[in-house]
Subunit: 91 residues, 2 copies
């Protein structure tokens, strides 16, 4: 993946992220990776599904990975949070 | 997968589902599939991560698929919802 086309999924409306992915792919990126943690994970899945079903129908999910990340809170204690990476590729 | 060892992830506490998976695997199931829709998707990822990191360390994620399902609401209109399937297998 040249230039790391990564879209970080947060708490904004789903269509904001869909637009970001579509813009990158239409700008020539053959692959885009969606990254999300915690509750944003389900939104990342929504983004991937909307992009490939409605906007870029020749895009497909080429890989999904899940992992656990350790986050340090303001009080200094560590919490674990789940994370997902969804790789979208143009066929 | 014999007898379809499926655990449906809903809105209960994460550890309920972790216990269900661990029980199935310790009972001899070599594979368990976690299924979730909508907001429960992030909980399904939590369950998979907790099982393999803390309880059954020789289990690994052998496959993840995402999809879109159409749901009919009480008023008769259709809504799309994202879904995930996470396959956990003992090595």
């Amino acid at each position: 993946m040249s230039e790391e086309n990564i879209v970080y999924i947060g708490n904004k409306p789903v269509m904001n992220y869909v637009l970001a992915v579509v813009t990158q792919m239409n700008g020539g990126a053959p692959e885009v990776v969606l990254k999300a943690r915690g509750r944003a994970i389900s939104r990342a899945v929504d983004v991937a599904e909307i992009v490939r079903n409605r906007f870029i129908t020749d895009a497909d999910i080429s890989g999904i990975e899940i992992s656990t990340e350790e986050i340090m809170s303001n009080e200094g204690s560590n919490t674990n949070v789940s994370a997902i990476e969804i790789q979208l590729s143009k066929l």
